[in-house]
């Protein structure tokens, strides 16, 4: 197991286009790091540079303290998990896991030891002598993971492993991968374009855009304290709403009424004119359902609801709003970049499932103004980000991870 350090990594193709542009990223030993971003952001290229499949134009790739830029994939001792998940029908589950070792002529006793260890972790022990034909979907995937485990690689690498599975198996596998990673405590780099996968799996998530790192943080920090419009828009589903806002002192005027900023945030945005305010769907509520004590912490506005979506346990309302042309085109650009379909001049707000707000009518909403962020519409920068609060969230995630690893590994040993 090893740490992976990337220092000023650049990848340029023949035409001079930088697919990866000055990326510096440290992945700790045992950490689960997600590389996420829309297509073309450079995440797969970066992973391939870690594996050794792609030449590095400049910068240093350091694995386990050694610079590996010039090393072939074979010499790096990393495992691309699910690279090969073919199951061989005549081979036992044991041999289906063991074959990479057989090819490397590892001696029998060692093969047995490693396969047994892997089978313990994967709970495949009782199947080892059977043929793979009767394994369930999840068990089949675990055999493929077993192949990666027995190689005793420095790190596990995943390249969108779940993107082509059906939804049910995808959910199942997400849990499996997460648990396995905790049990093995192995350094893992995982590439995905799916922000849900990123949020549920990673200790830390590295958000990439056009070859550049935007933010590296725990999922919670990304959600609560995004550095810019791009990260704010990419993380979260349904996505954050962006409303145009005029600043007057510490008061923002938006299509949904006034929002008063606290002192810190007011200072951060002072001296500007047109702004974008970012509000997550769950910061809204049907005003009639908000407790009197809570009401003063936010503002109330009236708007016409276009569509409501009742999902049993939750409900969403869609509220169109007007925006100046420059904001409109800015938001259109953002949607395009995020591979999102919707043109975001319509807010998606989450309201209680019991709310009786109806489509096509005016309704009164409450908006929790404490957590809104304010962005510079030209640069996209989050002007109100609280870096300290963000760092605290990531620290907490790191502590949680250590606890989880200890508990999972304790279980693994007792199970063996």
């Amino acid at each position: 197991m090893a740490s992976i350090e990337m220092k000023n990594i650049v990848k340029k193709y023949g035409d001079g286009f930088p697919a990866v542009n000055d990326v510096s990223l440290d992945i700790d030993e045992g950490e689960f790091m997600i590389l996420v971003g829309p297509s073309g952001c450079g995440k797969s290229t970066l992973l391939r540079m870690i594996v050794g499949l792609e030449d590095i134009t400049s910068g240093d790739m350091v694995i386990g303290g050694k610079r590996v830029n010039d090393k072939a994939p074979r010499e790096r001792n990393l495992s691309m998990v699910f690279q090969n998940y073919a199951l061989y029908p005549h081979l036992t589950v044991f041999e289906n896991i063991a074959f990479p070792l057989r090819l490397a002529k590892v001696d029998d006793a060692e093969v047995t030891r490693r396969v047994n260890e892997a089978a313990d972790v994967l709970e495949l022990h009782e199947h080892l002598e059977r043929k793979p034909a009767n394994l369930s979907g999840g068990q089949r995937q675990r055999v493929a993971m077993g192949r990666a485990i027995v190689r005793q690689a420095e790190a596990f690498l995943f390249d969108e492993p779940l993107s082509n599975l059906d939804a049910k198996l995808r959910g199942q596998m997400r849990t499996e991968i997460s648990r396995l990673q905790r049990r093995l405590g192995i350094t893992t780099v995982y590439v995905t374009h799916d922000q849900t996968e990123a949020m549920t799996l990673g200790d830390r998530v590295c958000v990439l855009r056009k070859g550049k790192i935007q933010q590296v943080a725990s999922p919670r920090e990304l959600y609560e304290q995004p550095v810019n419009l791009f990260v704010a828009g990419f993380i979260g589903s349904p996505p954050m709403n962006f409303l145009p806002a005029q600043l007057d002192g510490s008061r923002l005027t938006t299509p949904f009424g006034h929002i008063d900023l606290d002192e810190r945030r007011a200072a951060a945005v002072a001296g500007r004119d047109l702004l974008l305010v970012g509000i997550r769907p769950e910061y809204f509520e049907d005003a009639s359902l908000v407790d009197e004590a809570k009401r003063p912490l936010g503002s109330v506005f009236t708007a016409r609801v276009d569509v409501t979506e009742w999902l049993g346990d939750s409900q969403f309302a869609y509220i169109p709003y007007e925006a100046p042309d420059e904001i409109r085109s800015q938001l259109r650009e953002l949607s395009k970049e995020l591979d999102a379909e919707e043109l975001r001049t319509q807010a998606i707000v989450s309201i209680d499932a019991t709310s009786r707000i109806r489509e096509g009518r005016d309704a009164e909403f409450w908006l929790d103004s404490r957590k809104v962020h304010v962005f510079d519409p030209t640069t996209g920068e989050n002007l109100t980000r609280d870096a300290e609060a963000g760092a605290a969230l990531t620290r907490m995630a790191a502590e949680d991870r250590i606890e989880q690893v200890q508990s999972e590994q304790g279980q693994g040993i007792s199970a063996a």
Partner: protein
Amino acid sequence: MRYLFRPPAAEAAGLLTLPWHQPLEEWDEDLLLEVPQRGISRHVVRFTASEGRVYALKEIAEPLARHEYALLTEFEGEGLPSVSVLGICFDRPDDQQAILVTRYLEYSMSYRYLFSGPRAEQAPEQLLDTLVQLLVRLHLAGVYWGDCSLSNTLFRPDAGTYTAYLVDAETAERHGSLSPRKRAYDVELARERVGAELMDLAAGELLPEEIDPIEVANALPGRYEALWDEVTREEVFRADEQAYRVAERVQRINELGFDVGEIELVTSAEGARLRVETRVAEPGQHRRELVRLTGLQVQENQALRLLNDLRSFRAYLEQRRGEPVPETVAAHRWLTEVYLPVVHAVPPELAGRLEPAEFFHEVLEHRWFLSERAGFDVGTWAAVRSYVQYVLPRTPREVTTPSVIAARS
């Protein structure tokens, strides 16, 4: 549901009536064809026949289906040995995956059959070389396969040798050119998969005992490197060697199963530097010649064999008439008086086991063998009779090509 296919695909019309809205696994058996010649797939794959042709249907995620459809179309256009793609069906109900439709490669055989069947003794080395040749060809074309294995390859007999075809391009990528790293990685993946596939055959007692899966698989990278070097290396030699060194090199590349596209020779005071651009398409010089003369579409080695027979037939005609016979006349007479009668001599119950041109090649081989034994030339017709009576029936029924099976039922 939506169907995407590229003309000419008139044959696809018959396929439209199939129950595309149902999962492939639930299709009525009457619609499907049992095909023994196939490898291991991680997807649901089924075969069906329509208007005398056979198709392979594979259920995969839509982005992969589109990707594979696009790549296979490109490969076919460039003459890379791959299966021919017909189209895809997507937007199926209940969020079902897409279905990719490829034309079944007639008279092809899977490694499972070739390694375990009657030809197994000569197979491992030859098949491995054939696979390596395919991989080199793809790499020259800037294709990273990402899943090179015996399961993803089909083999077609070609007058004593084999030609390998890429069957699965799901993981393949197209680049301008491939870096040594990518090639090495692809070869490494191939080594591992071939090893596992042979171990699997051994475990199923389908591999002759003399074949050591590990040894065969571990020999793959070396063989690949040797061939890659042969077809790509630059050579430097003295100016006076120029003429024969160029000829030698071109001949060597031809022998390895490749055509030479362009030769670049740079001379300087120190000598000449030779760079050869190797063509990625399957070699086609003899195939094209045979099509021009007879209209027959066969593989390259078979074409060479047939052309040689055509030439000796022409010499025979000229000798008998005592005057020159135009090539086109000779070709027409050879086709109607020799080739077609020979290939039509196969009785219906044995039809489909060998591709007609391969049957013709086998008959010529058999004629040589009988003549050796007899001490005189037994002639083509005696060879045909003997081959059909004694040799062809020993070819296993399982190799019968699916379109012939489909035509019978």
